[in-house]
Symmetry: C3
């Protein structure tokens, strides 16, 4: 039940490793890092990267996490259990990340962000400072969250994404935009205005084109949104049970 | 004629290295990897990265390849001769990649893809699972191939790109779209419908604006497409000979 | 006042390190590299990466620079003092980069580029070969500079960005386009034509929608452009003084 640290890993001061933690080759753990039980840090990572911008000089990563190779996580953040990263993820300082979050390859969390529970992203997302992403959100590749209404400036306004929203590939979210619960942003949209709950937006600039309830599955013709009525893979049983109840009368 | 393995490289079990293979500093070769003659793997790479998603726990990389530094290639793929990658490329499991393929810096092949022969890409392309890219295709930076018509779902439909097509920078290809032979997708297009053979599409959403034959060179006024009538650099002699024959009556 | 080279760093031949230079763990300095005083090269970098495409087989990095971890810089470039890179930056051969330049995480400078003084970029910019970026330019995340009017070809025409221009997130700049002084490109624009001095463009394709002077701050209602009338953080005192003089009669 001990930890497994590769000979070539470099471990800083004041590092607390839980049971069964493993640290891969050529990985650097900087000072003041706390890593929960059963978490695996792969090769070529940097964990607890120091920065004067961190409000607190400590990084906490929850238990049962998998940090894939070449990932960099700054000090000053708190991350819940069961984080899974792709390769080459960057997470900067002062971020609060919930539990069961999955971040794809090359995702770039710029710091001072809030990411809720059960959020899943695909590759190469840019999450600008002060972005707030709530629970069960899905984000597809190459989505960019901006935060500066008068670029360049020091006046930053993060976007807010409500529960269960899904944001299609290559979309750009303008500063301070609110993306409503259960909504769907089509691929390649430039989102300049708030997206109402349960609506579909698309285009440059993005416009409302309908409600998610009206989208039918290409093959089966069945309703596909809100997506939790049909996509249950990888979520905890008690949550899936609630979702099934929510849609049982259909 | 021996192999050259840097002192700091880590080599797994059941690794077969051809003649003149070289392995750079801080690179990790995982188990069950076969690397062809004269192939160079540079620094900070991970080759044969293990995953339970691999249908076969083996990675084959062809001879005369150049894997630039910080590249990650998963187990479960078969790659032909003369692969050239840029830095930080990721190739996931169960992909079939032909010969003489060039993948630019930061290209992210998500797995279960097919890439033909002589395909060339620029930097930072996202190739979603189940994408099929045929031969002699060119893909420019920041192109995204999506695969989920009802995001998020488990129902994936890859795009198909036919021979000699060229896809401009920053374009997004929607799930299941077919991009015809010899066609041209303008930069920044959102491609929602099939692109007919030899046509030019552009815009958000992309629309047909003409035929490639009608495009003249900015300076010379000569026809420029299909591109193989004029661009021969780096292709094998016998192929260039065929191309010259195809257009010799003009 | 000596240099500090981590035990695991690999240093090539003919490397000149200034006073107080530090080289991080697992970093490789290739041959013929000159690094100015007080410059810090972090972990997992490759500096002076060799290429036959370099016109001169030497790399010069100015003093007081910070090269963040996992950055790759090719031989053949000359970089002024006070360069700051994010993580995983790539700078290829034959580039001239001025002083006080900041390049965000994952920025990809393709080589044969010119970047002036005091240029600042955010994450994940693609700067195609032969792009010219003048002084005090700001570039936001996921901007792509293309260079090939007839893709694929060997006929490359770089874009030119004049002083003080700001280019919004996710914009794509077409080959040879000139972006005028003090202009503003809105997020997600596809810039197909020259942008006149002091104008705002937006859309796909981008069109002029007004002059920067008419943009008021969301909260204060004050004019916000040219941005140097209000944003002074991090620039040298003598420059800020000139800017204040320029706008003192308002």
């Amino acid at each position: 039940m001990g930890v497994e640290i590769h000979d070539t890993a470099i471990i800083g001061k004041n590092v607390e490793l839980g049971e069964n933690v493993s640290i891969g080759p050529y990985t650097i753990i900087y000072d003041n890092v706390v890593i929960g039980d059963n978490t695996k840090i792969e090769a070529h990572c940097e964990i607890g990267y120091p920065t004067p911008l961190a409000k607190e000089n400590r990084l906490i990563i929850g238990k049962n996490s998998l940090i894939r190779s070449k990932t960099i996580i700054y000090t000053g953040s708190v991350i819940g259990e069961k984080l899974v990263t792709g390769h080459r993820v960057t997470i900067r300082e002062n971020s609060k990340i919930g539990k069961w979050v999955q971040l794809g390859t090359l995702v770039d969390v710029q710091g001072d962000c809030e990411i809720g529970d059960y959020v899943r992203t695909n590759s190469n997302i840019f999450i600008g400072k002060y972005t707030i992403i709530k629970n069960f959100v899905w984000i597809f590749p190459f989505v960019v969250f901006t935060n500066d209404p008068h670029p360049p400036s020091d006046y930053w306004v993060g976007a807010v994404v409500e529960d269960y929203a899904a944001i299609g590939a290559g979309s750009i979210i303008l500063p301070g935009v609110k993306i409503g619960k259960d909504s769907l942003v089509g691929a390649g949209s430039i989102v300049t205005k708030d997206v109402p709950e349960g609506k579909v937006v698309i285009g440059s600039p993005a416009r409302v084109v309908g409600s998610v309830e009206n989208i039918k599955h290409r093959e089966t013709g069945e309703p596909v949104y809100p997506w939790r009525r049909r996509l249950h893979r990888g979520y905890p049983e008690e949550i899936v049970k609630k979702w099934k109840e929510e849609f049982r009368n259909e």
